[in-house]
């Protein structure tokens, strides 16, 4: 707390008051904007309108996702079909970030990813792989495919494993499903190595979004359904993190031993209402 001419000024205000001094908002997508499932999935009630309201405000807006079942192009098209006003340049998924890393370090990947993500890697040299990349492969996480990835790693003198995210599970319309993090842990255990995470909650990943917005971390707020990877990851970088009670949220999240969200709201619509209210004052 600073004292200035007799007034107490909060150097760091909590939620929702902190919304007054925000310059940007970063939204998680699956579980916040929509729930995935059959076909395109289903927009979460109020989310389309909430995004519109944010765009009309003076806040900068970006979307940060660990979506790896489809290319960014296809994924954004799906969100547009659901009714969201959103464009590819505003969306930050892990695959493009991974491709940059491969280039930077002269690595050639063996891919264990969903078929829908493969086109994203069309321009990448995949011969004689010297690393493995795993994404949210869902039903492509067959024993055989996992074994192939394992054999590549165990055969390398310096095995490198990239995991596009480290989520434990996500929610689809027909229930909870295992996420990439589970298989990351499986391969880590099998090969006795540590994976490098590209995507949330990697600080590098969040930083690339902040850089694109031209903001410092304390000027931005992250809203997500994943307590550890969205909220915890954002807080770790110096952002505020708010959890929504949609998507993969579970009541026990509000009693988590290590991560405490700055705020917990019913859904994105409520979060945006609170944010804009604070800024109207």
């Amino acid at each position: 707390m600073r004292m200035r001419s007799g007034h107490f000024v909060m150097a760091d205000e909590g939620w929702p008051g902190c919304a007054k001094s925000l310059k940007g908002v970063i939204l998680d997508m699956c579980g916040v904007l929509y729930d995935s499932g059959e076909g395109d999935g289903v927009a979460i009630p109020g989310s389309i309108e909430a995004v519109r309201r944010l765009k009309e405000s003076d806040l900068q807006l970006r979307f940060c996702t660990n979506e790896t079942q489809a290319t960014r192009e296809k994924f954004v098209a799906k969100l547009q079909r659901l009714g969201f006003d959103i464009s590819a340049s505003e969306v930050f998924p892990p695959a493009p970030a991974a491709i940059a890393v491969l280039k930077d370090r002269s690595l050639r990947p063996h891919l264990l990813v969903h078929d829908g993500l493969l086109p994203e890697f069309d321009g990448v040299d995949k011969t004689n792989p010297n690393c493995v990349i795993i994404g949210d492969a869902a039903e492509y996480f067959s024993y055989q495919n996992l074994n192939e990835a394992f054999r590549v790693l165990i055969g390398l003198e310096k095995p490198v494993l990239f995991s596009l995210g480290q989520g434990k599970y996500y929610k689809e319309t027909d229930g909870l499903k295992l996420d990439v993090g589970v298989y990351m842990k499986a391969l880590e255990y099998a090969c006795d190595l540590k994976a490098e995470v590209i995507g949330k909650p990697s600080p590098t990943f969040f930083q690339s979004v902040l850089n694109d917005m031209g903001l410092q971390s304390h000027e931005a707020l992250m809203i997500g359904d994943d307590l550890l990877n969205d909220v915890g990851g954002a807080q770790h970088c110096g952002m505020k993190g708010v959890q929504v009670r949609t998507g993969k949220y579970r009541p026990s999240d509000e009693r988590h031993p290590t991560v405490m969200a700055d705020g917990t709201v019913d859904n994105l619509a409520q979060a945006v209402e609170l944010i804009l209210n604070q800024r109207r004052r």
Binding site: N147, L178, A190
Partner: protein, 242 residues
């Protein structure tokens, strides 16, 4: 060598030590017979969950190994005991051929998950099913947590990675039943010989099965001895440890 220990019992791992799938390790049958003639008790321990005790016995006798069913201790039988004790109704993710060791156990409306070496069950759908059960409160029982094993076509993932993955997904710890820590001959350095050494027993690592160059440097303390194969290990025992 400092101090001679008079051994009273020798526990022998099976898969990778006496045989690799359907082939005996050369000279192993004879070495076993020599060991039996010495004044030590001989027992067999195995984490093999791919087949029932009866299948295992048949396979080994077919390869001319001299052993009896009651000398074999498998982690499958240990898992069964636990299930009976706790009155769990298991979802058995074990190889079809291992199911025989669980006959008589009620598997309707399962309320526990049992994981053995079951590549056929380690697909996305079945693991999701297990995951949801554990999230709803079902205990996770791992017959063992081997990282990988050797097949004829190369190394293959064991149950360990999948158990670890489910523990991560659910924030739960599996109960690992199975292979006693006291093993003598084994070729997965970390899992077996390390365990034996830690239990105060002598561990001998053999360079067959899933052994990989440098394994002996991966456990602390290092193995009492690393040998090329089971017959060499027996030679050493007969010469030095009795």
């Amino acid at each position: 060598m400092a101090g001679r220990r008079a051994l009273k019992a020798v526990l022998i791992d099976l898969s990778g030590t006496l045989h690799v799938e359907d082939m005996a390790v050369p000279g192993a049958q004879e070495a076993l017979n020599r060991l039996r003639q010495a004044s030590v008790a001989v027992k067999f321990v195995t984490n093999t969950t791919k087949e029932s005790k009866r299948n295992l016995l048949e396979r080994l006798q077919h390869l001319n190994f001299d052993l009896q069913e009651n000398e074999i201790f498998t982690s499958l039988s240990a898992a069964r005991s636990l299930l009976e004790q706790k009155q769990h109704r298991p979802l058995l993710l074990v190889e079809d051929s291992a199911l025989e060791d669980f006959t008589g156990i009620d598997t309707s409306e399962p309320n526990a998950v049992v994981i053995g070496l079951a590549p056929d069950h380690f697909n996305y759908q079945t693991l999701n099913k297990a995951f949801r059960m554990i999230v709803d409160g079902a205990p996770l029982i791992a017959i063992h947590k081997a990282r990988y094993y050797r097949r004829k076509d190369g190394l293959a993932l064991g149950p360990g990675p999948f158990v670890t993955g489910l523990e991560y997904a659910t924030d739960c710890r599996a109960t690992v039943v199975g292979k006693p820590e006291k093993t003598f001959f084994a070729q997965d350095a970390r899992d077996d010989v390390g365990g034996a050494q830690n239990a105060g027993m002598l561990g001998i690592l053999v360079r067959t099965g899933k052994y990989r160059e440098g394994d002996e440097n991966k456990i602390s303390p290092p193995p009492h001895l690393t040998c090329d194969s089971f017959p060499d290990a027996v030679e050493h025992i007969l010469q030095n440890l009795l």
